[in-house]
């Protein structure tokens, strides 16, 4: 029976992975992900989880090992953050193109330098092109629920892709929250035993990871693109099914108080929850603001997003990463890509904020609001701005 208990989110996520009866976990310690794999190794060593825990010598090795376990046909789970994700970079692309249904939680953390263990989205946004499915959870309950959902999506015969489950490092990972933890029996009714489509089987030998000459490389990439795009419908179905079964329904794109909004914030991750509290507060003073949050980031839910922002005047995209010397933040770039050429498209104000653990507080949302209000009142759309920087606090670059 599901119990609601006060538990650190990392531990709840680990217990969810154990309740999914994962077969193999290959992992390497990195803050702020470590509690997840620590707890999994505890569960294995206490005999509560029948799995191979492989304490590898680096994150690169963790992802390499996961390729091996998944290719052997085992349900595979791992977790990482920041530098660890960056070290895996090379193998992420390979795992995706080998169509190995690995589930990886990423406790999002800033990339060095300077070295910083706190939260932003620079680790995950630099891996946008890896070909994995990517989901962002906002809170502990969602992060915990997403573990069986992610396994179910990744292993669905119509999908067969690895999936990254993102949640904010420390802000979500290390917080003790009241969480409804599903037990193994309940999860088993939602997540069947994994039956791989193809695996390394001595009775049916296959060659995995062959050389792709120029004659076939493009076709391989096209097949991969089709697989990621076509995963959208199964993802929606699975999210809905989870909702029906357990009463918590998650959608690829969520909205908050957008019905009559003029200015809508585009966000993802835990900061969106702070923003929702801020919206509640300022709505009383007449500021017509709302929030649209991405839960699904890959495949990019283009249709659902367009639907969600239709008719608004100004969008404020809050990025937690940016491309120095480039076109600003990744979320804003993709939002603009989705809106380009649309009739009566909203104007897009881009801010980069909340880097390396800098609090995204009400002040920050007020600053963003002031920028957006000027645009709403007919002002020009300013270039992307990195707010919250001292020495020109909230100033332009």
């Amino acid at each position: 029976m599901a119990v609601r208990k006060g538990i650190e989110v990392s531990l709840a996520v680990a217990e969810a992975a154990a309740a999914c009866d994962v077969d193999c976990i290959a992992a390497y310690p990195i803050t702020p992900q470590t509690h997840i794999v620590e707890h999994l190794s505890e569960l294995v060593n206490d005999g509560e989880l029948d799995a191979e825990f492989i304490p590898v010598e680096s994150e690169h090795s963790a992802m390499s090992c996961c390729c091996g376990t998944a290719a052997a046909g085992a349900r595979t789970f791992t977790a990482t953050s920041s530098q660890g994700l960056a070290l895996m970079h090379e193998i992420l692309f390979i795992a995706a193109n080998l169509r190995l249904p690995i589930v990886m939680t990423v406790a999002n953390r800033a990339l060095s330098a300077p070295i910083n263990i706190w939260n932003d989205h620079s680790d995950i946004m630099t891996e946008r092109d890896a070909g994995w499915l990517q989901i962002f959870a906002e809170n502990g309950q969602e992060a915990t629920d997403m573990v069986p959902i992610c396994h179910r999506i990744a292993e669905d015969k119509r999908v067969l892709l690895p999936i990254m489950l993102n949640f904010d490092g420390f802000i979500v990972s290390h917080v003790v929250e009241p969480i409804i933890c599903l037990d193994k029996e309940e999860i088993a009714t939602f997540l069947p035993i994994y039956e791989p489509q193809q695996r390394l089987d001595i009775d049916h030998p296959i060659t995995m990871g062959p050389v792709g000459m120029p004659e076939v490389y493009t076709e391989a990439k096209m097949a991969h693109e089709a697989a990621v795009q076509n995963s959208y419908e199964p993802i929606c179905e699975i999210l809905e099914e989870f909702g029906k079964q357990f009463g918590r329904t998650y959608k690829p794109v969520e909205t908050y108080k957008t019905e009559d909004a003029d200015i809508v914030y585009i966000m993802m991750g835990a900061a969106a929850e702070t923003a929702m509290s801020w919206v509640d507060k300022v709505r009383d003073s007449g500021k017509k603001v709302g929030i649209v949050r991405f839960r699904l980031w890959r495949p990019l839910p283009v249709k659902a997003f367009k639907e969600a922002v239709k008719g608004f005047k100004v969008l404020c995209v809050v990025d937690r990463h940016f491309s120095p010397g480039g076109a600003g933040g990744p979320v804003a770039q993709e939002v603009k890509y989705m809106l380009y050429g649309e009739e009566n498209a909203p104007k897009v104000v881009e801010v980069v904020a909340g880097l390396g653990g800098r609090d995204l507080d009400y002040d920050a949302f007020e600053t963003m609001y002031d920028k957006c209000k000027k645009v709403l009142d007919g002002g020009e759309v300013p270039p992307f701005e990195l707010i919250q920087a001292r020495g020109g606090h909230y100033g332009k670059i």
């Binding site: 090379e90 030998p205 995995m208």
Partner: protein, 312 residues
């Protein structure tokens, strides 16, 4: 040596799991070694290859030379991939998802993938105690990318990144001793193998597979393209490498050394180097100095063997 007939195909298993039609160069002893490994291991085997010659020659899609399940992920990490396969099978067998039976898991890497870029991955897989084999094909340079030096390239050998220049003549460092590094991991089995000695080769591969726990095999692999040797001389070069002391054959089982094809009297190293263009620039003095060092290393190896016997 020239009189010795080593071609004894009648005595080898007929089945091939790395099939003909692959794209290796003429006289490639690495492909020969890979074929012998799989003759010894049989069909209940899963292989993980590192990026390199053996990977590209055997798997240009839609062709494959592999008659067993095979996986290639990247260059430096085949040991990790292999350890994952082993762990996956172990978990699935324990949980009753696949039939319980003995399956050999083997990971491959060239000398670059083993001694240089992948040393950490090999070390990790061996240290963790997976029941798997790791085979390093040592052709003493990065042949797949066009003959660049690795830390396993022998002293003075010319490669494209250690050329025989006017002031600096070839590789300036002594060959890294990877088998000794693996012995230091206290794994059950480490051995050097050489396809010019097919029976010793296959005996060691079988032993490595039978032993419970990690086993490391280091395979001498003549590369005619990279070494500038005639393709038909591969077997002869392999035997000369042993007879000159350049590549001693030995095994270390639970820390106990034993030396095979023992050399009573060393053939002159010159007999070996003169057949290879990579050593063309060497002076007699340099050859003699190398020969002396090889002799010293061989003497040390024999002492280790002696000590292993005394320890019994």
């Amino acid at each position: 040596m020239e009189k010795f007939n080593v071609f004894a195909s009648r005595l080898l298993p007929k089945e091939d799991y790395v099939c003909s039609g692959h794209r290796a160069c003429q006289g490639c002893a690495e492909a020969l070694a890979m074929r012998l490994v799989h003759k010894a291991l049989g069909r209940n085997t899963i292989a993980a290859s590192a990026t390199g010659c053996m990977e590209i020659i055997s798997s240009p899609y839609p062709e494959t030379a592999w008659n067993i399940p095979w996986l290639h992920v990247a260059f430096e990490n085949s040991a990790s991939v292999g350890s994952g396969i082993e762990s996956g099978l172990k978990a699935l067998m324990r949980k009753g998802r696949i039939p319980k039976r003995k399956i050999n898991v083997i990971a491959y890497g060239g000398d670059g993938a083993t001694a240089d870029i992948g040393l950490q991955w090999v070390s990790g897989a061996m240290e963790r105690g997976h029941n798997m084999l790791y085979v390093c094909y040592d052709n003493e340079a990065y042949m797949n990318t066009g003959i660049q030096r690795s830390s396993a390239t022998p002293l003075h050998a010319a490669t494209t990144t250690s050329p025989a220049g006017k002031t600096i003549g070839g590789q300036q460092t002594w060959k890294k001793n990877v088998p000794e590094i693996m012995v230091s991991h206290n794994i059950p089995y480490v051995a050097t193998i050489n396809p010019s000695y097919p029976f010793d080769f296959m005996r060691k591969v079988k032993k490595a597979a039978e032993i419970d726990g990690p086993a490391y095999l280091h395979a001498y692999s003549c590369c005619p393209t990279g070494w500038g040797s005639r393709p038909e001389l591969g077997i002869q070069l392999g035997r000369l490498a042993v007879e000159t002391g350049a590549f001693p054959l030995y095994e270390v089982e639970y820390g106990k050394y034993s030396v095979q094809e023992k050399v009573e009297e060393f053939r002159p190293l010159k007999d070996y180097v003169k057949l290879q263009r990579r050593f063309r620039h060497l002076t007699d003095e340099q050859i003699n100095a190398s020969q002396e060092r090889l002799k010293q290393e061989y003497a040390l190896l024999l002492k280790k063997e002696q000590m292993s016997k005394e320890g019994d």
